[in-house]
Amino acid sequence: MLRVFIFNPEQTLKMKVVVKLFGGLKSEKNFPIREDQHLTVELEEPLTVSELIDFLNLNKKPFIVVLNGVIVNNLSLKIKDGDEIALFPPIAGGDSLTKNIPTL
C-alpha cells in the first residue's frame, strides 16, 4: 500500500525560542537555562505571543514584550522558530497602551 506523506509544517515542526525574563519575572516550569541565563523553550506547535506567555506560566504578568528587539503591542503575532522574546513586568512602564501622546 502506498502511503502518502503530507508535510504540514504547522503540525510537525518543533520550534526553538529563546525567552529572556527580566525584572523578577520567573517561569514556574523547568525550561533549560542557557549559559547567558536565558531560557530555551521548545514548542510543539506555533503559538502567538499571548499563547506563549500563558504557556510559560510566569509568576507575574509581563507588560513590555520585545520580540527580536522590537517592542510588540499586538500580542496575537505568531512566534517563529529562532525568535528571541524578552519580557519585562510592568515595573518599567505604565499601563496605558491605548492612550495617545499627552496633550498638555
Partner: protein
Amino acid sequence: MKILRINMSEDAPVVRFEDLGEYEGLGGRALTSAIISREVDPLCHPLSADNKLVIACGLLGGTAAAMSGRSSVGCKSPLTGGIKEANAGGQPGQVLGRLGIAAIVLEGKPKGDDLYKIYISKDTVKIEKDNSLRMLPNYDLVEKMKKDYGEKIACISIGPAGEMKMAGASVAFTDMELRPTRHAGRGGVGAVMGSKGVKVIVLDDTGTTPRQPKNVEAFKEANKRFVLGLQKHPVTGQGLPAYGTNVLTNIINEVGAYPTYNFKEGRFAGARKISGEVEAELEKQRGGNPTHGCHRGCVIRCSGIYHDKDGHYLTKQPEYETVWALGGNCGVDDIDKIAMMDFLCDNYGLDTIEMGVTIGVLMEAGLLKWGDADGAINLLHEVGKGTPLGRIIGNGAAFAGKAFGVERVPVVKGQALPAYDPRAVQGIGVTYATSPMGADHTAGYSIALNVLKTGGFVDPLKPEGQVDLSRNLQIATAFIDSTGMCLFIAFALLDQPETNQALLDMINALYGWNMTEKDVVEYGKRVLKFERDFNLRAGFTKEHDRLPRFFYKEPIPPHNVVFQVKDEELDQLFNW
C-alpha cells in the same frame, strides 16, 4: 522667600538679601534660567566675573511635600557656551527652602586665587577664606565640614575638577547620610563655582520649620493624594524602588538602543552583568541597600547604597546613565569597577556621563583598549590630579575628541549624549538636538513613551510624531524642574490625571494660586523661552540644533537604522 546675592569681587564678599520682585512665582529651573537670561551677558566668558552661578530650590522646596528636594544650578555653561540648568537631589534643596532662600546667586569673581567657604544658618551668612580646603576631594571636604559645623548640615561643594575649572566639573549635593553623592552634573557648573572661588556652601537649618502653606489642610490632603498616586504606579511604586534607575539596562539593551563602543552598536553582550537586577542583588548580599531615598521625603526611593566585595561602603548605587557611560559604552562589564568610577567621579566632582563618553572617545582613539576598566580608572585619577592628560579628559568629549583627532564624537552643543541611542529611539534624538541644554535625556524623556509605554506609545524606530512628543515633554519637564519635584514623578503624572491634579492642588494650596493644566503649559513654555532667548543672544543658530552627522549616516545594529527626523522638522520644535 528671598534671593541671597553674594558678590565675590570685593576683598570682603558682599552679601545682600533681596525680595523676589520680578522673579515672584518662579522656582527651580524657572528661577535659575530667568536670572541667567535677564542678568548675564550671553557673550561673556563662562568663567568670567560677568557670569553668575544660581542655586535654587523649587517652588515646593522646604515644604512638607513629598519628592520636593531637587535643586537647580544655573549659569552660562563652560561646556556648551549656552544657558545651563543642572539638577540634583540630596538634602540642600529642602534646607534652602526652610531657610527661606529661593536662590543663592554667586556673582563677580575674587581678584586673587583664595578659596572661600560660605556658612548659612537661620541668622547668619558667614564667608571665610579657607585655603586649607584646596584640592580636597568632595568626601574629605564634607568630613572636614562635619568636624567644623556638626552633623546637622547639608553641603553644596566642588571637588578638584571644579577648582581646576574643568568643563566636566559637577556641583555636589550631600544626601541623607551627609555624603556628597548627588550631583548637578552636566555642563560644567562646578567650573563656574570654582571660578567664583567658592569651595563649599554649608547650610544649617537648625531652628527652622517647614514652609507654611496658605491653605494648610488643602496642602496636606493634596500631598496625601500625590503620595498615594506615586505608590500606586508600577514605575514609581515598584520598578524604581526595587532596582533603581539601572532597571533600564536590560530594557534599553533588548530594544537595541544601548549605545555600545562609542555609539557603534545598539547592544552590549555584557549588559546583564551590569544590570539593575544584578546590582540590587549584590547590594542585598553585601549589606548595602537597593531601596533608599536621596533626600528626606522621597517616597520613590530609587537610590541605593553600594558596598564593595568586603562589605564596606563604596558609593551610592550607580545610576543607569553612569553604569552605561563608564560601563557598556566603554565595553566594561565589571560592576564593581564601574562603582569605583562612580565614587571617583563623585569625589573629584565630575559628570559621570561626560567622563564615560570622553573615555569612550579615547578608546576609539586607541589610547586604551575597549573594556579596559583599570585603564579608565587611571584616567579618572589623572583628571583628579590635574595632569595635562587629565585636564584634556576633564574638559569633556568634544575637547578630548579634538585633542586626539577623533571624528565620531557624540555631542550636541558640546555636551555628551547620554545612554539612549538616538537612531534606535528617534524621539530622544529630537530632545538631544533641540534642548537648549545640549544633549540631555532629562530635558524631554521620550523613552517614557518610546520604550516604557508610560502615557502612551510612539514607535521609537520611526521619525513620525517624535517632534510633537519631544516638544510636549520638554514643556512639561521645564515645569516639573521648576517645582523642585523629582522628575520621576512624571511617570505617574503621565498615566494618572488624578496625581497630576494632586500636584497642582499642592502648589495652589501653598501659594494661594489657581493654577490649571493650561497654566502649566504656559509656565513650561516661558522657561524654555528664557533659555532659547539666551542661547540665541549667545550666538546659537538652528544649525546648533542638530545631531553629529554620523548619526544620519552610520546605521546602528541590530536595527540598522539611522536618525531620520528631518532638519526642517527639528526647526519646528519651538514653533508653538
